[in-house]
């Protein structure tokens, strides 16, 4: 860990500071939205949205290099693709009368394959691995501002609308009968999840981002009796996983994303097994 602190303190080496800031900023949104995703049981939808993000990144890179649109940053493409994917997947899950999972699986791979094709046709060399598995070398100061902005949006909306989101997650039908526009709120939840997913694409990558969305919330769920408690604990667990992951990966020169995810997964399994052994009567 001491190498990490040295690296964090080095004024000529902003990389680790950026990575840590990005991770901590993202943890706030991840803990909050992850709690909804886990309790509403939509982690499959969230994973599909995450993979569609690659389509947007590919399109943005292609526009930048091939069409000369310099402003078209990959992160803008990611945000746009995530929102479009969230709306399409959300509408499919609301209105598809059957085989919803097949349709969503198809969208998942089309988004991803489209991105890979666009990246392949982008002039110059772009390594899709950077986006699939994350690369903290790519985090810029600009990304941090983007992360902070999205954080404010996500947390602000959740603070405003928590009671309605809670009701939508717990009992959609009853909530609709109380005159709440359940479908709009459900789509809004998915859009916020989509924006959250984009936050950590740089750090852990598209493929593993779903782990950080669900695992901290799942761990927190074992120690919480209300959704609010679960959110606060999930944020804390997420900060711990990201920080510890950075701390472990740096001195051993390991890729950061997988270290964070393995850590989160190990803690989750340990907690799940531990709770099962300690409280065998609870189903």
């Amino acid at each position: 860990m001491s190498e990490l602190f040295d690296a964090l303190g080095d004024p000529d080496f902003p990389l680790m500071r950026h990575a840590l800031f990005a991770g901590v900023l993202a943890s706030v949104a991840f803990g909050v939205m992850g709690t909804y995703v886990v309790t509403r049981r939509i982690s499959y939808l969230a994973a599909a949205i995450a993979h569609c993000v690659l389509g947007g990144i590919g399109a943005a890179l292609y526009c930048q290099a091939a069409l000369g649109l310099a402003w078209c940053q990959p992160m803008y493409g990611a945000v746009a693709a995530a929102l479009i994917a969230a709306l399409i997947i959300g509408l499919v899950s609301l209105y598809a009368r059957q085989r919803e999972d097949t349709v969503i699986g198809a969208l998942w791979v089309i988004g991803m394959a489209g991105g890979l094709l666009l990246i392949a046709k982008t002039p110059g060399y772009v390594d899709p691995m950077n986006y699939l598995f994350g690369n903290i070398l790519l985090i810029s100061r600009h990304d941090l501002w983007l992360a902070a902005g999205l954080d404010v949006l996500v947390v602000g909306l959740v603070l405003l609308l928590h009671n309605k989101f809670l009701a939508v997650c717990f009992d959609e039908q009853f909530t609709e009968l109380r005159g709440v526009r359940v479908k709009c709120h459900y789509l809004l939840l998915l859009c916020l999840t989509a924006l959250t997913v984009v936050l950590l694409v740089r750090v852990v990558g598209i493929v593993m981002v779903i782990a950080l969305l669900t695992l901290p919330a799942a761990v927190a769920g074992h120690f919480s009796q209300t959704l609010r408690q679960m959110m606060v604990l999930a944020v804390l667990f997420c900060v711990v996983f990201v920080t510890a992951g950075l701390g472990i990966s740096y001195p051993y020169d390991l890729p950061t994303g997988p270290v964070i995810v393995v850590l989160a997964g190990a803690v989750y399994l340990a907690v799940a097994v531990g709770c099962r052994l300690l409280r065998p009567h609870r189903t």
Binding site: L160, D171, R178, Q225
Partner: protein, 257 residues
């Protein structure tokens, strides 16, 4: 609407999910402060009938009116208790938070955002007290027994301060002691509101409702006293074992498999 008008009025209502009709030519009128029970075999259309009254489904033909309006417009005057096994038993939520959901949909900005004020919290406390669950207010829903959860969901429906109470299987997970208490609670509520429930529990039904609505694609209405084995056999299409608990009060049909 005039105060004498029916609370629920179905005229010539038919409904089908795909091709096969679930309900055909249903006529049903429920007066103010009446209590009725909907019985019938599984798949006979009980839940569909309830969903039509709630405006969650629209009939292919015929007309549904609640308080003289479309069901959708009348929604906020209706308190609905769904079957509780539809809920995730692991969901981290307290009893109070569930009951407060009955206060969603109030007018005004705070209502639009779903913020609860002091009056809402008082209404939630009162609703819990009414079903004898006030001492459980802060407890997690996941730690309650089946009967306790059922009563929390009834409290949530009461917290809507409804004029019409719709209960889907209120006695499904309730033991006999609680059931007797439930009858008392519902009889008391019936002074203030109209009650419509779905139940398999014919003993419970005959003790507290005025009319029984038998649903099996078509709808037949009986006065509660006339619930005889013939009437039940007719609606359940076949063998029904009757267990006679005592001569005066209750007759209980078996649950269909």
């Amino acid at each position: 609407m005039s105060p004498e008008g029916p609370v629920i009025d179905l005229q010539g209502v038919s409904f089908a999910y795909d091709q096969a009709p679930v309900l055909e030519d249903v006529n049903l009128s429920v007066a103010r402060r009446e209590s009725i029970c909907i019985v019938g075999p599984n798949g006979g259309g009980k839940t569909t009938l309830l969903k039509l009254i709630l405006g969650l489904l629209n009939p292919q033909s015929g007309r549904v009116e609640v308080f003289g309006q479309t069901p959708r417009r009348a929604r906020l005057r209706v308190g609905y208790m769904p079957q509780f096994y539809r809920h995730d038993p692991q969901f981290p939520i307290t009893v109070t938070d569930i009951v407060l959901m009955g206060r969603l949909g109030r007018p005004g900005l705070a209502g639009w955002f779903g913020w609860y004020d002091r009056a809402d919290r008082r209404a939630a406390r009162d609703a819990l007290a009414e079903v004898g669950m006030d001492s459980f207010a802060g407890r997690p829903f996941s730690e309650l027994s089946g009967g306790q959860r059922q009563r929390v969901l009834i409290a949530r429906a009461l917290c809507c301060q409804p004029d019409l109470l719709l209960l889907d299987e209120p006695t499904a997970y309730v033991d006999t002691l609680i059931e007797a208490r439930l009858v008392e609670i519902l009889k008391e509520l019936n002074h203030r509101m109209t009650i419509v429930m779905v139940s398999h529990d014919l003993g419970f039904v005959s003790e507290m409702v005025q009319r029984v609505v038998c649903v099996n694609r078509r709808v037949l209405v009986h006065p509660a006293e006339a619930i005889s084995s013939e009437a039940i056999r007719e609606v359940y299409d076949g063998e029904v074992q009757m267990v006679r608990h005592d001569d005066v009060l209750s007759q209980r049909g078996s649950r269909d498999e």
